[in-house]
């Protein structure tokens, strides 16, 4: 299992579009991708759960990947969040 803490920087936080971009990008990976936020873990491949987490701009989230391609999945996820989730 690998993980990294990153800061959400896009203006809107995890709204519909950023959540869609994120889940679409991590879904192809075999590994589980979870988002740790506010003491809870959310399925990173689920738009609904990402939105339900109510992650705002400036929030620090932990991306946790677990599986055969966990390194690649984490690298992709971190890059996405740091680049502002396509916003």
């Amino acid at each position: 299992m690998v993980s990294k803490v990153v800061k959400v920087t896009n203006e809107q936080g995890m709204h519909m579009r950023p959540a869609t971009v994120f889940s679409a990008a991590v879904t192809p990976f075999e590994s589980d991708v979870k988002i740790g936020f506010n003491g809870m873990q959310y399925d990173g491949k689920s738009v609904m759960m990402l939105m339900a987490a109510c992650i705002k701009c400036g929030a620090e989230i932990e991306i946790i990947c677990n599986g055969s391609d966990e390194e690649a999945a984490l690298a992709k996820a971190v890059e996405l969040v740091e680049s502002g989730l396509g916003d």
Binding site: E11, Q12, H15, M16, R17, T20, S23, D43, K45, S46, V47, M48, M49, M51, A52, C54, K56, C57, G58
Partner: protein, 567 residues
């Protein structure tokens, strides 16, 4: 008459088509053949996706790509593993498809509707739409075909789902009334995009009307009349004509220069709060940015924005404006605008305290970071720097010295900037107004901030209901102050703008014209209105009105005169 929320402007008069809620009740039963039930569920999901994709396409073609995003969002949600996936799991455990759809959707509706965020709460209504659509498919319930309603129809429904809205034929629907929804709901957004008058959240309206009743929908005021008297109808027929004429007239001002009735050119700029708003300014035909509030950069983040972050944001606005002027106001914090991470002390009198340029000049590192960001952006278009809350000449000189220092640094680093960048001041304090002639020798331009100018001149906190009645830019004291500022600027040969709310006020515009205002900066949606008002007045008429207005002793007299003379 019934009252609701005015969601889309205009007047609609027509015959009601009541959209009755379909009965979507079902009996929950235990399923033995779960494979067959899963197949039934999967074909419903496929049908839903096909239907939704078609609607998205319809909306994109007939309304616009932005509005189609609502339906695309529905697709993304149904494709989500936790939606269809959870439903499938429940079916595998022996639940019927209807029960599985209801349980999973209700769980998400519950989750989203409790959120504080307005946009997130909107997702609850999206999921509710998905639930209804899926149940209709599973139960084989057909919807009313809205695309087939007769011309002159007023649609009345409990709620207008995006799927219903996507079928609306603009030419046939003259009004919309619903029992739920607010100004930012999907129905409201789509109604505005289609330019159909709409009143939402009228309690119990579906119980109060029947098909073929006559309805008047006043989407400007939020009023609804059912089977009104002839008098009311004739009154609204006139109102409708006036509205249509005014709208058509406003559209005529799109793409035109802003000129007075004498043909004298003035500038009509926009006030914006984020770089993205610059697009709105362009869409609304603004001729530049008269006030770009830079606070968003400092408020949206848990830390100070870096020089690069600021540069990128300013550059985005500057590039969007494509060579048109962008006046950026430097950090205006303190007063009612707090930035937690700066750790400013609570003050007895925050509006008279450590704020705006006072804070910036005491924290030169923070200020220089912003000035460098601004200077770098000035290489990409026409940027002007505007200093808020100036009260004395020393402040303008100090800022100019800092700008000079930043220029030298950038030059040494080989970074490009506009050598001739202008530095102007907001004139929004009584002190600045009284020494406008002195400030005009130092500043490259003035911009009058009427909100603060009124507050400081009248010594009134507009947030305090006991004294708010004194807060008016039409108070003789404020009018004299505005006149003095504009005349001082004109005399010194520097341009004078106004970026407060008063610049778009139809009653104020003729006075500003008489005083000699060069640039009006307004909310983007008011550009065409302001241009239309400006075009109606000649200088001579405005002068005559201003002379009379300034001779009056009270605010009430001034407003009465201006209303009576309004064009």
């Amino acid at each position: 008459m019934y009252k609701g929320i005015e969601a889309s402007r205009g007047i609609g008069i027509g015959s009601i088509c009541l959209i009755v809620e379909r009965d979507l009740s079902f009996e929950s039963k235990h399923i033995d053949d779960t494979d067959a039930e899963k197949a039934r569920f999967n074909s419903a999901i496929e049908a839903f996706k096909a239907e939704t994709a078609e609607m998205a396409e319809n909306i994109r073609k007939n309304i616009g790509p932005k509005e189609a995003e609502i339906m695309e969002g529905h697709l993304a949600m149904i494709n989500d593993p936790t939606m269809a996936g959870e439903m499938t799991k429940m079916i595998e455990a022996g639940q019927c498809a209807e029960a599985a759809v209801t349980a999973v959707c209700d769980m998400f509706i519950g989750m989203f509707s409790k959120m504080e965020d307005d946009m997130m709460r909107q997702r609850a209504s999206d999921i509710s739409d998905i639930k209804v659509s899926l149940l209709k498919i599973l139960l084989g319930v057909e919807d009313v075909d809205i695309s087939k309603v007769a011309p002159g129809t007023v649609l009345v429904a409990h709620d207008l789902t995006p799927s219903m809205t996507s079928q609306i034929v603009k030419e046939n629907v003259v009004g919309i009334i619903t029992e739920v929804g607010g100004k930012t709901s999907h129905s409201a957004i789509l109604a505005r995009a289609l330019e159909i008058p709409a009143v939402l959240s009228v309690p119990g309206i579906t119980e109060l009307v029947k098909d073929k009743d006559t309805a008047i929908v006043d989407g400007t005021e939020g009023d609804v009349y059912i089977n009104p008297d002839g008098d009311v109808v004739s009154k609204y027929v006139i109102k409708r004509e006036e509205f249509i004429r005014a709208q058509a007239e406003l559209k005529n001002f799109f793409g035109k220069e802003t000129v007075t009735a004498d043909g004298d050119r003035v500038e009509l700029f926009c006030n914006i709060g984020t770089p993205k708003d610059a697009k709105k300014a362009i869409e609304c035909d603004g001729e530049g940015i008269g006030l770009f509030r830079s606070e968003f950069l400092f408020m949206d983040k848990p830390h100070l924005p870096t020089e690069d972050e600021q540069f990128e944001a300013y550059k985005e606005a500057v590039e969007t404006m494509n060579g048109k002027t962008v006046i950026i106001r430097t950090l205006d914090i303190g007063g009612d605008k707090d930035i937690p991470y700066l750790g400013l002390e609570k003050e007895e009198n925050p509006f008279l305290g450590y704020r705006a340029v006072r804070y910036c000049l005491a924290n030169k590192d923070i200020y220089k970071t912003q000035l460098r960001g601004l200077l770098r952006a000035s290489a990409f278009g026409k940027v002007k720097i505007m200093v808020p809350l100036v009260t004395c000449v020393d402040e303008v000189r100090a800022v100019k010295a800092l700008v000079e220092e930043c220029k030298q640094e950038l030059k040494a680093e080989g970074i490009k900037y506009d050598e001739n960048i202008e530095v102007g001041c907001m004139v929004e304090t009584a002190a600045a107004s009284l020494i406008a002639d002195l400030l005009a020798k130092e500043a490259d331009f003035f911009s009058i901030g009427t909100n603060d100018l009124t507050q400081y001149t009248m010594s009134v906190d507009r947030g305090n209901a006991n004294v708010a009645y004194l807060y008016s830019a039409f108070q003789p004291a404020v009018l004299r102050s505005i006149k003095n500022i504009i005349e001082a600027g004109n005399k010194a040969g520097i341009p004078v703008g106004m970026c407060g709310e008063a610049a778009a006020d139809p009653l104020m515009i003729p006075l500003l014209m008489s005083f000699g205002l060069d640039e009006y900066s307004v909310n983007p949606v008011l550009v065409l209105t302001a241009r239309s008002i400006i075009s109606k007045w000649t200088k001579a008429e405005a002068d005559a009105l201003a002379e009379k207005a300034l001779s009056l002793a009270t605010e009430a007299e001034v407003v009465a005169l201006l209303k009576e003379s309004a064009k």
